[in-house]
Symmetry: none
Subunit: 210 residues, 4 copies
């Protein structure tokens, strides 16, 4: 029933679902098998060990799922920056964060499992992180050239924003607080662009432009 490629895919999907819910060690292979309606042996037909299955899950997450959620088609970011349309940029960002929040499983597995598998961490993180950083730093630099962003270390600038957004997503997904992602994002973007300091503080601080 269904060809073997489809079976393989169903196994991966069940593994993602359960690894996210219960962790790698907390998930039994028989649970994965039952979840996708195959026999335990079938899982091992496609993935010789459970660790091999984890590797495939992480590979899919890093090469397909997360890029699909985060990365943009070439030039789209540039176009957005070039458009000088703040509202369009915000809408774009909101849609992206919303999708990420709704597909948090992939991130959860990544964050949890990479900690304990130095080799996988090196193998895959070296692929994903630079790609994302390149993209968002590219965005920041483009904005900077356009005169939107201050001349700050782009890695820190970008990481800080991601951190603020990430904390909101965790607030929603881990602490299960009932947040309106879009409304929260509005405030986060405001803080990010304008800071929390009053004019007085800002005057006493770093001069923004010149």
């Amino acid at each position: 029933m269904g060809d073997s490629v489809e079976t393989q895919e169903r196994i991966i999907q069940s593994a993602i679902k359960l690894f996210a819910q219960k962790g790698y060690h907390g998930t039994k292979t028989i649970e994965i098998a039952k979840d996708c309606g195959v026999a335990e042996g079938t899982v091992f037909k496609y993935y010789s060990t459970k660790m091999e299955l984890l590797r495939n899950v992480l590979s899919k997450i890093i090469h397909e799922i997360i890029p699909g959620l985060i990365l943009q088609p070439e030039g789209e970011v540039q176009k957005l920056v070039a458009a000088h349309d703040a509202e369009a940029a915000k809408a774009f960002l909101k849609a992206k964060v919303k999708r990420i929040s709704e597909n948090f499983s992939a991130f959860k597995i990544l964050i949890n499992e990479l900690q304990y598998h130095e080799d996988i961490k090196n193998e895959y993180f070296s692929v994903l992180v630079p790609g994302v950083i390149k993209m968002v730093e590219g965005f920041y630099n483009a904005g900077r050239l356009q005169g939107f962003f201050r001349d700050i270390n782009p890695h820190i600038a970008v990481r800080s924003f991601i951190g603020a957004v990430n904390m909101m997503v965790l607030d929603k997904n881990v602490l299960n607080r009932d947040l309106d992602v879009e409304a929260e994002l509005e405030v986060i973007i405001d803080i990010y662009l304008n800071g929390v300091g009053t004019q007085a503080v800002q005057d006493a601080g770093i001069v923004k432009e010149g």
Copy 2:
């Protein structure tokens, strides 16, 4: 050799160390025993099950370790705000973040294990999170009354800053990048207080004071 309270404490310390390194499931009870130089049976004398040991570890982390790293004696934060001394406040913050970064094990265990233990999450998170939030929101509100901070939802304001700092700590501790915590914090604080937007952007945006 040594009284039983000391033995108990040694077991907890080894458990914290190893749970942080290898995760709960990845740590064998005999490893904990060997790490602190007792027999395996001794571990079970004090903690009837491995899960019970985890509960005690989490309890210690939440009731002692993290409060010791984060919370301040009554009034100290107020004093800092009242002093109108930005440098002192920064120094205070740097010292705090540095300590947290240096004692990251506790946070790692908390973040990793609470995900899979809904009951423990409810039991303990309800203690820790409100305490920290109260403290930092108190700080933000105090600063706001002093005219330092804008009138923004303090939960989001504070969470965003913690998120930015947190991401830096992860950058250092999980990705093992070689960061100068103090220098990074300088930039993060700058971003937080002043935003990343240029004057032009800010002029087009929300009016800060009025």
Copy 3:
């Protein structure tokens, strides 16, 4: 090799054998596994804990083995009573006691283990005991109506006979005395029917009929 039902049955049979020989606590799960030629894990495939295996053993003993040894098809006892054939009745009894004596393991486990498991005792004893009592008291009452037995509390009457027989079976099976079950039964039945008192004693005692 053999289907799973057969494996389950082999495990139960080995458990009965070994629990009878060495007691529940005295029997290791690996011994049961080896005795029936499976791996230790296989035992736990079918019976999630050793206690669960004991419950199944007791259940089988109570619902199948002992009823198979003791209970009679409907009406057979009545027929025997109606036949007025003392020799046939004796032969029937001898055959029954012999089978019980030869299959004493089941009784041994029952007697030994139920003592320590109040819940199992209630669960199962409430099934077995009333069934047996009903059968034998039915037999006694039928014989009484036929004029064979005196008008004595049937519970005590029956229990006394069972006690006498039981003691003989224990004498043989626990003390390992080399007894001829049939010959012993002859004497026990004689005592039971006629008492041990001489005519003089009986004359001084309860008048039998009148």
Copy 4:
């Protein structure tokens, strides 16, 4: 507090109590220690192993407790027989059975543990059983010579009575039925002396005297 002999005795008493309640394997040495208010190590000061403690318990049961419950001062039984007083004999028996029923722990331990310890069984059973048998068979033979009892194999005669009484005691102590020991004994003795068969049956059976 208390001399060492008394401590030893308290340990034995606790062991008897708990072995009867939960079995030898089901009783932990620390439970025995707590039950009699000493440290676990103290138990091992007096009895080098748990098995050694069991041996001492069984020894006490066989050499002291059960003889104290069962055996009679020399000649007392003879006197009772010689007195030709059925009521006195019955009263004597009732008192004895009642005491046995009330002190059933000792028997429980004996019955349960001897099964699994062939060496102990041989060592001690060889002492107790012949003593009891000798006494009761002596009683039966004395009664036979006095013309009270029929000329039946005294071992079987006596064992049958003990079996009937024993079953009543089990009925009370194991099945927890609420029985009046004395009233039950009346009926059992009646059955034992007179049989359950009617005159017709007895006439058709073995001639009692001749």
